[in-house]
Assembly symmetry: C2
Homo-oligomer: 763 residues x 2
């Protein structure tokens, strides 16, 4: 590929990006799209945007960019949680290190590469891109030490920046733990692998065990039931009720008193609401009857939340091996109430290790199979081979414009389409693994997507790009550095176009929210459905973190060898910095948070990138027969690995557990100020299994469920709550166009639910 | 090598073994050797062996074999600790599985191999050993399924036996923890990385921290001083004193009252003893003065033992991350008092990770360098190459007897000599690593020696034996199974001779205690030194465990492919079973115990052996073009790995930590019976830094140091103790032939010590 080809590609992409960004700045001002572009703000801040028709709405503006740049870390932390801050810091780190690398390499190394051989230089636009890589430097050149010094500076500064960021995020994480509102998850331990004994009920077994061994700090517990089917029906019923409520909003009393409203469609009476309420009251009365019915369900009990008096006691209980059978009475700190992945809680603990191995094998197989389309696509970028294989295309491909388009643009686009399927598949794998929280699931998927991306995009291209269908390169690990050293400068062209297409384009589409926009339009104007006020998406860390880290890997590996990529990469990171901040502030809603656990992933990825870069440079210096440069690279690799080990020792433990000191201080502070009783009180209603956590904020539950003291009461508080809660924020007119089948299903579900309630299935 | 060569070798070794064993049964009955062969019994059981001269003493007997076979596991546990039981179980496991394998393979597979090809069979003694390996089976033979079935049976039974042993040892470990006498180490936590603050003294800092954060369970603490030099002098002085005491045993009062005995050799007065005692008394009086001098030494304080009220509290404190800096206030459960490796305790905690990496790299380099002599030695076993390289030997080597000797015997002997250097070097590496206990050091050395042995003896021979100087086999991992599959049947000859020479001979020398015997003789009759009553060696787990595991590896890998090794191996294990039990009961003294931590090492080694065997068989079946057998081997590998993972989940945690349930039960039991106060009382004198733990049993310290309550008092109790303790068991006459220089050194050391005591260096 020549410089002109690159410029064509860059031109197309810049034009597209500018177009998309301008479009976004117009679209975001349209009131119809407000739910697409301001989902978080509407859901959390309840502010209303003006709807007046003014010309300004149709003029592109840059105010949002200024806003995104101006907002502080504190604001991001408050609006989008710690994970958003971590993501932001990954971008900041990338911006910093690649600014330095760009200055260093573009001004220091690019000229060296360009004038590396005594050849006649043609006009720059017709120059091949290979001229700008280290491939153009003479063998045994006396200028290779410059490359080595640049490598040292980049590695050193990267390590220093990494350490500062790591420390900063560790501090934020601790502050996040200590300064936050009293969090029920700090007091709660999830117990799995409760032994099944036929004589006593499961609930009694838990009580006995924790009273005996953690008596001084044990408060009470709440059993998690294995109720896959019932739960699905409950959720279905609740959704149906919500729709039903839209329909009846103006005709029935908000508090569901006994109004015998006859549904016009299926003939069922709406006093099923009344029935339910009565059922609940009856349940409260006959607690003795409940006990007998409880025993029937005991086989179903597989996990429980156990509440402790202090945070420290919960931590201790979660970290200690309880009994001499490590598969029984397994304790973990509970995830936050909104974060609990209920349907995985009742998985038998014994199964989990098998599941983990199975999904690991599954993802490895998936990773390896994916190489086939990647290899094929890579073939597309090599024109001669394509012409050879598909001779009928020869005529088309010989046109200059087509050839530039095919080599510069098409491969990345096809790859991109394939890659869209990866994230959902990895999420599926992570779900099967059996994590107990949403955040853990996403983090695990993030790791999988990262491995996948690095393997398939980076190594897949590098290793297969040079010699197509040479898959047996794996059989000789000793040759890999040399292989990489040969391949990277050659593949730099592909990586540059990849940054242009995949990088820039993905940012534009992220900003535009094309899918959300179209769906919103279809929903509103074609299906004429009511707006789904509840659904605001979470930030897709599992796709975006690997993407940013992959570009970091490309940047590091190409920096010294083919520095032409760096300006494009810098533009990507800067654009990403603006776009992602804007999206985090406006679009996505944070329901759950890993508490900064994405940072160790990012740290490891950067260390891997650095070491890989150094190994590749070692290979290149070897190929160029420069023993001095190669010799100086080896200590650099060792130093980088030592730095990584130091970080693992010094900072990683803070991301795995919580220091006792801080927890004890928090406990004392709460006890001193007398808040502890209130916190204990709130714990009773913190975790609700049959509660659709997506729609009711925690604080509301906590105030409602305050009159219940005797044991867990998830169902009751939840049942009452979601049926009684007045939905003041629903300001849209009720729509009569609800499909008949939905309504019928809703009523059916609710009647079934009432029957279940009567049979005392829930405590 | 031919059968006749093998038989020659076997004959030599059998003769040697019988000779050594007979010699042993005679020598052990000589009273002069009683300290060599009954070290443990004399030191621990204080029983006296009759010394009468009777003829029976010079007739070989087998009574000791019967005794060794008859003793129960309980007796071994009582006499030599849990590690000895684990070692015994490794031998039992090996015996069981290889009995099965021998029956299966010798009767099932050996005939198949022998008649594998339609060749004319000569007389069996002239038959090459290769005829008995799988190499003799035809390609695409329809009998290969027998090999596959045998592999399945051996793997399956091995896994079942492994699981039963693992469970048994886990149970023993728990019982060992719970049934033992109250152990001070259960109540004690070793704290390292105590932050240095100039304002307050180190001791106060510890007090403040633990009173604040573990106030309810914290008892008191004891600072470990960084006193490398002083400690050395103290130990030297004590040793000198002991010698001095032999010398003056009959002339001065045992309790060191003020007797001004003038030393006849150097003129120093022996009331230095008096001085010391006075110094101690003075120290007790002026505790206010001590405080001021204590502060001077605070910079030296790097670690401390912190004592807790209950076992559970100590466990909790040791497992929780204390502060937000994981390098500070690092807590670990303390090792047992006799097990503490004092000189490593004051190593700065920050240094340890660097030390670990450095020793890891050091041992890897050592492992790789060792390949060179191994490769050379392997060359010796290939006669043609040797003749080619050293042509002047041609004449000698062409003699039939020499050729058999060289191929069958010499290589192993030379290798054996080289290998004697390995264990001390690995112990040195493990010491540099900075473990806090003797047992941990030995365990770490055991792992290193194991890796070393497996790599150098097994892989070194297999990979270099087939193609000499082909060291680049590492560069193609895909070929390794095929390479191994080709090499193992060929190398089986070497392994058989290795079992004969190294295995049998090492058992004979272990039984004979040749070094100890000679040293004892030289010491007694040439140097005329007094018997060193204190020195009884510990069992060298770090050399013996890897040896047994290596033979297990050889057995598994050769079982199906070259079953001729199995009878020899069975003899080895049976002999080993007798010899080691005898040695554990009579010779070695158990000073420290890892509590069964050698078992996970053995388990992993066996799993590794099984998987390696399966991979090699896969390669062989591939070479023999038997897709069915190869196809059935793959699920076997997966099943074995799954089994290993299950054991890691189900049983390994018990070897890493202690279940809270058992500890809490023990605490309650002690509290109920009122023993707790007594235990707390004893803690004060449990750990003594300046106390030479090798000579005074724990129970004596505990009774002596009972009147000291105010903080730690290691020095005082120790000082008093070792100088006052009457040594009733020393029944030997005092020897006057002590060298002059030693006595002078002794007196010098003691005077120096007294000066130090006066300056208040010790608390």
């Amino acid at each position: 590929m020549k410089i002109s080809g690159l410029l064509t590609s860059a031109g197309i992409n810049i034009a597209l990006s500018v177009l998309f960004i301008s479009l976004y700045s117009v679209l975001r001002k349209q009131p119809a799209n407000v739910r697409v572009y301001f989902g978080r703000r509407i859901a959390e801040e309840h502010n209303r945007l003006r709807e007046a028709f003014i010309l300004e709405r149709f003029v592109p503006s840059t105010g949002w960019i200024v806003k995104a740049l101006q907002c502080t870390e504190e604001e991001i932390l408050a609006a989008a949680g710690l994970d958003a801050v971590v993501f932001n810091r990954i971008l900041v780190f990338s911006l910093r290190i690649f600014s330095l690398a760009a200055i260093l390499c573009v001004f220091g190394i690019l000229p060296l590469n360009y004038f590396g051989q005594d050849i006649h230089h043609v006009r720059i636009p017709s120059e091949s891109l290979d001229i700008f890589t280290i491939g153009n430097v003479k063998v045994r050149s006396r200028w290779l030490w410059v490359h080595c010094v640049a490598l040292y500076i980049i590695s050193g500064v990267a390590c220093i920046l990494l350490y500062l960021e790591y420390k900063h995020i560790a501090r934020l994480r601790l502050r996040h733990l200590t300064c936050a509102m009293p969090n029920p998850s700090h007091f709660t331990v999830l117990v799995r692998g409760i032994p099944k004994e036929t004589k006593e009920s499961c609930s009694n077994a838990i009580d006995d065990f924790f009273t005996k061994y953690h008596g001084s700090s044990y408060l009470f517990h709440q059993v998690v039931y294995k109720v896959g089917k019932v739960q699905k029906i409950m959720t279905g019923a609740k959704k149906a009720y919500r729709k039903f409520k839209h329909f009846t909003d103006s005709t029935i009393d908000q508090r569901c008193r006994a109004i015998s409203y006859r549904c016009c469609l299926c003939g069922a009476s709406s006093n099923s609401f009344q029935l339910l309420a009565t059922g609940l009251e009856q349940n409260q009365g006959k607690s003795d009857l409940q006990d007998s019915s409880l025993k029937l369900d005991d086989q179903e009990c597989a996990a429980a939340f156990v509440y402790f008096r202090t945070r420290y006691a919960a931590l201790v209980a979660s970290e200690i091996l309880q009994t001499s059978n490590p598969m029984k009475w397994v304790t973990d700190l509970a995830p936050e109430p909104d974060d609990v992945y209920w349907s995985n809680l009742w998985l038998p603990y014994k199964q989990l290790w098998i599941r983990r191995i199975a999904t690991l094998l599954g993802s490895i197989v998936f990773m390896l199979f994916f190489l086939i389309p990647v290899t094929f696509i890579q073939g597309l970028s090599q024109l001669e081979q394509l012409q050879q294989r598909l001779p009928f295309l020869k005529g088309i491909l010989e046109k200059k414009y087509m050839s530039q388009l095919v080599t510069g643009y098409l491969p990345s686009v096809i790859l991109q389409i394939f890659l869209y399927a990866v994230a959902p598949i990895m999420i599926l794998f992570s779900t099967l693994e059996g994590p107990i929280s949403h955040s853990e699931r996403k983090r695990s998927a993030c790791c999988k997507v990262l491995y996948f991306t690095v393997w398939n995009i980076f190594f897949g291209n590098v290793l297969s790009g040079t010699v197509i269908s040479q898959l047996n390169v794996l059989s000789s690990p000793k040759d890999i550095p040399v292989q990489l050293a040969r391949a990277i400068p050659v593949q730099a062209t592909f990586f540059i176009t990849y940054v242009l297409t995949s990088g820039w384009a993905s940012l534009s589409s992220e900003l535009m929210q094309l899918f959300g926009l179209i769906w919103n339009f279809v929903r509103k104007y074609i299906l004429r459905m009511p707006e789904d006020t509840e659904f605001v998406p979470s930030f897709p860390y599992h796709t975006e973190v690997p993407k940013v880290l992959l570009f970091g890997l490309l940047g590091f590996t190409c920096s010294v060898l083919a520095p032409l990529i760096l300006p494009f990469l810098l533009v990507y990171f800067f654009l990403g910095y603006i776009v992602y901040r804007n999206q985090l502030l406006n679009v996505y809603r944070t329901r759950y948070d890993t508490g900064g656990l994405y940072w160790p992933i990012a740290h490891n990825a950067v260390i891997f990138s650095l070491v890989l870069t150094q190994i590749i440079c070692l290979g290149v210096f070897g190929l160029k027969e420069s023993p001095v440069a190669a010799g100086f690279t080896i200590p650099l690799i060792i130093l980088t690995l030592l730095f990584n080990q130091y970080c693992r020792n010094r900072l990683l433990p803070l991301f795995r557990t919580t220091p006792a000191q801080d927890l004890i201080d928090m406990d004392r502070e709460d006890e001193r100020s007398g808040r502890m009783d209130e916190i204990h009180h709130r714990l009773h209603s913190a975790y609700c299994q049959f509660h659709d956590t997506e729609d009711i904020p925690l604080e509301k539950i906590q105030t409602v469920g305050s009159d219940e003291e005797q044991g867990c009461s998830s169902d009751k508080s939840n049942g009452k709550e979601s049926f009684e809660e007045p939905r003041a924020e629903l300001s849209h007119p009720t729509l009569n166009g609800l499909p008949v089948s939905r309504l019928r299903h809703a009523v059916k579900s609710i009647t079934f639910l009432v029957r279940l309630q009567k049979r005392g299935l829930s405590e």
